[in-house]
C-alpha cells in the first residue's frame, strides 16, 4: 500500500473535500503562498485560488469569529490556527458562539466549522508554542474534538470533520506531520462518523488509552512491554468528543487494568475524565488502581532537557504499565 506523511495525508483530505464541495474554503495565517507554517496547505492556493485559500491578517479572534459567521451563513470554513497555543485568542468565539448556536438557536443554526491546529511539544518551541490544550475544549459542550495519531486517520477524520455539521477542533500533533504511514490511495466513498475509538493493538493484560502522538508512543511502549512479557492493549481514542466510552470500557472490563496517557498537564486533564468514567462504569472489574502518565503541571520549556523531562515518554509509559501489573486494589 502507498505511504504518506501526516502532512501529505491532511493535504490530500483538504484537496478532496474542496474539490467535492464548493462551499469548503480554508482561512488562516500564511496558508497561501507560504503553504502554512507546517506546509499542510502547500499547493492549495494554486489549485483553488485566493478566495478559497484565504490568507488572513494576524487576528485569531477575528478570523475565527468570521469563520463562524460564514458557517452559519452556509459555507464550510476550515480554519488553520498556526499553533494550538494561539487558539486561546479565539476561545471566546468558539466557546460562546460556535459551541452554543445549535443548542440555543435550534436546528437551523448548525455551525459546520473545522479548526485545524498543530498541538503538542517535542520540537523545542517553548512555552507558548508547545501546549496540548484539548482538555480545555473538552469541557465545552457543543464542540467536537478530533486528535488523530496516524496519517490514515488524519486523512479520513479530517474529511469526516469537514462533513460534520458541528464545530470541530482538529488537533494535528506536530510530530504527526513527518510520521509516515499507509494511506489507501483511492478516495474512499465511505466517510467515517466522528466518535469511534480504535483498538490499535490487542492485548490481554492492561489497557493503555491514548490519543494523538501519545498513541504512537503507547504503541511503541507496548512493543517493549511485550518483550517483558506484558500483553498491552492500546486504544486510540481518535476523538475526545464525542467520546467512545464503550470501546474503552469494554477493553478495561476485559483487561482489568487501565493506564491513560496524556501529553497535556495533569490537573483537570482529559485522563481524569476517562479514569473517572472507568470508576463509574467498570469499577468492579478493575484489578488495580487506575494510573495515568501525563505532563506534570508545568509549562513546556524551550530547553530540550526540560522539555523531555516534562513530556510523557515511551519508557515512562512502559514503566507505568509494568507497575500496574503488580499493583493490587
Amino acid at each position: 500500500m502507498r505511504t504518506l506523511t501526516g502532512c501529505e495525508a491532511l493535504r490530500e483530505a483538504l484537496r478532496e473535500e474542496m474539490r467535492r464541495d464548493k462551499t469548503v474554503f480554508c482561512l488562516g495565517e500564511d496558508i497561501g503562498v507560504y503553504g502554512g507554517a507546517f506546509g499542510v496547505t502547500r499547493g492549495l492556493l494554486d489549485a483553488f485560488g485566493p478566495e478559497r485559500v484565504l490568507d488572513t491578517p494576524i487576528s485569531e479572534a477575528g478570523f475565527t469569529g468570521v469563520a463562524i459567521g460564514a458557517a452559519l451563513a452556509g459555507s464550510r470554513p476550515v480554519v488553520e490556527i498556526m499553533f494550538m497555543d494561539f487558539i486561546l485568542l479565539a476561545f471566546d468565539q468558539l466557546a460562546n458562539m460556535a459551541a452554543k448556536s445549535r443548542y440555543v438557536f435550534g436546528p437551523h443554526a448548525a455551525c459546520p466549522l473545522v479548526i485545524r491546529t498543530p498541538g503538542g511539544g517535542g520540537r523545542g518551541y517553548g512555552p507558548t508554542h508547545s501546549q496540548s490544550l484539548e482538555a480545555l475544549f473538552a469541557h465545552i459542550p457543543g464542540l467536537k474534538i478530533v486528535a488523530p495519531s496516524t496519517p490514515a486517520d488524519a486523512k479520513t477524520l479530517l474529511k469526516a470533520a469537514i462533513r460534520d455539521d458541528n464545530p470541530v477542533l482538529f488537533v494535528e500533533h506536530k510530530l504527526l506531520y513527518s510520521l509516515r504511514g499507509e494511506v489507501p490511495a483511492r478516495a474512499s466513498s465511505r466517510v467515517e462518523r466522528l466518535g469511534k475509538a480504535r483498538v490499535v493493538r490487542k492485548g490481554r493484560d492492561v489497557t493503555i488509552v491514548a490519543w494523538s502522538w501519545m498513541t504512537e508512543l503507547a504503541r511503541r511502549a507496548a512493543r517493549d512491554l511485550a518483550e517483558a512479557g506484558v500483553d498491552a492493549e492500546v486504544v486510540d481514542l481518535r476523538t475526545l468528543s464525542p467520546l467512545d466510552s464503550e470501546t474503552v470500557m469494554t477493553s478495561v472490563a476485559r483487561t482489568g487494568r487501565l493506564l491513560i496517557v496524556e501529553e497535556g498537564c495533569r490537573t483537570g486533564g482529559f485522563a481524569a475524565e476517562i479514569g473517572f468514567q472507568a470508576f463509574e462504569s467498570v469499577f468492579d472489574r478493575l484489578d488495580a488502581p487506575i494510573r495515568r502518565v501525563t505532563c506534570p503541571d508545568v509549562p513546556i520549556s524551550a530547553s530540550p532537557v526540560l522539555e523531555q523531562a516534562a513530556l510523557p515518554s515511551q519508557t515512562a509509559i512502559a514503566a507505568a504499565a509494568a507497575a500496574l501489573m503488580t499493583d493490587e486494589i
Partner: protein, 318 residues
C-alpha cells in the same frame, strides 16, 4: 545628536547584527534547536528607540524578534545566547527560549511568543507608572502584523483615554511572516490609525537611527509631561528570513537587494565618518568589539550547564 553617543549607538547596531548572524549560523549548524527570529536590517529601530529611554527606569516590552531589543536595553549577550542554547545561565534559565526572555532590572519586560501580546502589557506598565505618579515611560515594540490583533485596538483606546505614558513603537518591516502589509490592512500605514484613537501618530525612517532616536525622545518627553501616548511607525525591512528555514517565497530577491542598499548599518557608518565622529581605526575597533562580545557569548553558552531536570516542577508559583 544631543544626548546620543553615536559611536555607542553604532557599536550597539553592530553587536545586534553580529549576534543575529551568529544565531542564524548556529541554527544552520544544528547547535541550537527550536526556533528563533533574527532582526537583521532592523537594528536602527531597536537601538534608536531604546537609547532614547532611561535605562532601568523606563520599561520596554518586546516581540518574538527580541534579541536586538534586549541588547539595546543593555541586556547581556551571554545570557541571551545561553537562553537560546537552553542553558541554566540563560535569561529564563532555559525555560523560555528565544521568544521568552526578560531582564526586569533593565526594565526589559520581556519578549513575547504571542503576536501582539506585549501591547496591553506595556499599556499596563504605563498605567502603573501613572497610578504611582512616577515620571517613567513604557515603550512597546510590535510588528506591522501585530497591529492587526484585537488587543492593539483595545490597548490603544485605553492608553489614549487614560492619557498613559506609553510609546507604541511599530516596526513595520513590510511583512508579517509571508503576509505583505498591503494585503493585511486597507490603510497605507499603521500610524494612520492614531487619530482614530485620539493620539498623535507619526511615520519615521526606521533605518535611520537618528530619526528613530529623535522621534522616541520627543514621544517619551511628551509622555513624561503627562500628555499621553504616541504611536510611532518605523518603516524598515527584515533582511533575514522570518525564522529558521523560511524559503522567502513571498518576496523577490530584487526587493531584498533594494533594501540591502538601505541597510541601516553602513549608512550610519558613512554618516559618522562624514561627520568626523568615527575614524577608520575606531571603526575597526568597534567591529572587533562587537564580534568579541558575540564570540564570548557563544563560548559562555556552550560551557554553561543545562538545567537540572530535578528542578522541573519548581517555580511555577511565586
Amino acid at each position: 545628536m544631543r544626548g546620543l553617543d553615536e559611536c555607542h549607538a553604532y557599536r550597539l547596531m553592530l553587536t545586534i547584527r553580529c549576534f543575529e548572524e551568529k544565531v542564524e549560523a548556529l541554527f544552520a549548524r544544528g547547535l541550537i534547536h527550536g526556533t528563533a527570529h533574527a532582526a537583521i536590517g532592523q537594528e536602527a529601530a531597536a537601538a534608536g528607540a531604546c537609547l532614547a529611554l532611561r535605562r532601568g527606569r523606563d520599561y520596554v516590552t518586546s516581540t518574538h524578534r527580541g534579541h536586538g531589543h534586549c541588547l539595546a536595553c543593555g541586556g547581556d549577550a551571554r545570557r541571551i545566547m545561553a537562553e537560546l542554547f537552553g542553558k541554566e545561565t540563560g535569561y529564563s534559565r532555559g525555560r523560555g527560549g528565544s521568544q521568552l526572555m526578560a531582564d526586569f532590572s533593565l526594565g526589559f519586560l520581556g519578549s513575547n511568543g504571542i503576536t501582539g501580546g506585549g501591547i496591553p502589557v506595556a499599556t499596563g506598565a504605563a498605567l502603573s507608572f501613572k497610578l504611582r505618579r512616577a515620571r517613567r515611560v513604557a515603550l512597546c515594540f510590535f510588528g506591522d502584523g501585530a497591529a492587526n490583533q484585537g488587543v492593539f485596538h483595545e490597548a490603544l483606546n485605553m492608553a489614549a483615554l487614560w492619557n498613559l505614558p506609553v510609546v507604541y513603537m511599530c516596526e513595520n518591516n513590510r511583512y508579517a511572516m509571508s503576509m505583505p502589509v498591503e494585503r493585511a490592512m486597507a490603510v497605507s500605514g499603521i500610524a494612520e490609525r492614531a487619530p482614530g484613537y485620539g493620539m498623535p501618530g507619526l511615520t519615521v525612517d526606521g533605518n535611520d537611527l537618528d530619526a528613530v532616536y529623535r522621534a522616541v525622545t520627543a514621544a517619551a518627553q511628551r509622555a513624561r509631561r503627562g500628555e499621553g501616548p504616541t504611536l510611532i511607525e518605523c518603516r524598515t525591512y527584515r533582511l533575514s528570513g522570518h525564522s529558521r528555514g523560511d524559503p522567502r517565497c513571498y518576496r523577490t530577491r530584487e526587493e531584498e537587494a533594494q533594501w540591502r542598499r538601505r541597510d541601516p548599518i553602513p549608512a550610519y557608518r558613512a554618516r559618522l565618518r562624514e561627520r568626523g565622529l568615527l575614524s577608520a581605526d575606531e571603526d575597526r575597533r568597534l567591529r572587533r568589539e562587537a564580534r568579541d562580545i558575540v564570540r564570548d557569548a557563544v563560548a559562555f553558552a556552550k560551557r554553561s550547564p543545562a538545567p537540572d531536570p530535578a528542578t522541573l516542577e519548581q517555580g511555577v508559583y511565586a
